[in-house]
Amino acid sequence: MTTIEAEAPAAVPARRRRKTRSWRRAGMGAAALAGVLVIWELAARAIGDSVTLPTVTETARTLVKYLTTTYPEVQGKTLVEDALISTGRILAGFAIGSAGGILLGSAMAGSRVVRELADPLIGVVRPLPPIAFIPLLVVWFGIGETSKVVLILFGVLPVVTIATLGALDAVPADLLNASRSLGASPVRTMLRVRLRAAAPGVITGMRIAMGGAWTSIIAAEMIAATGGVGFLILQAGNYLQTPLIFSGIAEIAVLGFAFDGLLRLLLRLADPSTRR
């Protein structure tokens, strides 16, 4: 009687190779960033005017200084405080919007009536740029936190809804059949297979929504706010404080990268095939 040859699982050496590859990729990314900074520094020195283009070192000095110093000096906030304000708004709006989007998307996938009702509404709302609603939200909710959170929610909800619906629709029927024929109940199959299989698609939708959320919040803070990174950048611009503008932009870049990194981490947890 013959047996099936055990193939060496490709997994073990491949993992080590992946590790070296990921270090290599991080190194390349850092090199590209350093290259841009060098070009910036050279250009700034050639121009020689810190209002048009400050040097990297001057920007870095400004950034560090205003991390703990308020701007504007009277009634202003530090860069850290502004970052916390913007981040708080994003997190609140993003959490409510994502939760709502997942619920609405699941309801649309599960019920034809809900789908037929919500589909045209989403279709109409989604192409609208959320920042078009800023004046309206200010009229309704004032310039406090509520208008900012609602604005982000407006942007996040349709994106996550569509991503959730698409991901749930894309789960192969045989995957659900397999679960049922292995002895799982319909409820268990729904929770452990259908929703679980859709998780990577939902998280990808959340990543896209996160990018939009930063656009909205900065715009809102520039138009009607008394704090936040957008407010800071606008103030710095009004007083031709170019190094501070760059500091604010750098701050958004770092925060945006960090949030996307967290969502990417979530995606890696949800989808083993992305762990490379």
Binding site: T3, E7, A10, A11, N177, A178
Partner: protein
Amino acid sequence: MSTVTALPATAQPTGVRLRDVTKTFRRRRRAGRTALDGVSLDVAPGEFLCLLGPSGCGKSTLLNILAGFTPADSGEVLVGGEPVRGPGPDRGVLFQTPTLFPWLTTWQNVLYGPKARGAHTPEVEREAAALLETVGLADARDAYPHELSGGMRHRAAFARVLINRPRVLLMDEPFGALDAITRATMQRFLLELWQEHRTTIVFVTHDVEEATLLGDRVAVLSGPPGGTKAVIDIDLPRPRSYDDTETLAFVQAKRRIREVLES
């Protein structure tokens, strides 16, 4: 490495009985498409039956009805004397693709059924380990499906079904997407498995050679719409091996099937 003997004992195999099974798929604003038009078929306990027919003849529909994924419009569908009322672990299903859960490792995939049924015991874990050994995946138990080759995925799917000790195996062109060499290996594995345990198997295929090699009988479906055209006995000696495909008796058996197919 061990042989198929290491498999956990499967439960008593049971027979399958189909009487005048019909199925029509409704379509919007058009006449429905009749997939099955009165199929009657008996499968004895422990028998290896191949369902053969051109694509679109309703082979897969028939298997889905047996599995309980789709209800028949009319007719009698009995597995082990009981009418089929939905999917269940007594009928192990192997799909055209392995349909492993991509977020679970091989080990977790195999234990999915016992966990879902609340039958996850240390004893079951020992059986799962033995099964992985049998299908040659002992070293890949912590690998995810995307890290496995096509043949390995199919063997993992096999183990995931066998841990439930099904009384009937329903297989829907399970090796159709594999390369010829891997397919031959899987066929050999299936023959050994069946030789050892005599599980009832209903095996859907459109490959005449595969049907001849594996089946005790080959039910040729006509269609579409599908109906049983003829049931042909393959009285080649058991145990069979891949070498048998070159014998005269094998070629003659193949020819008989092909004649029925083309008539």
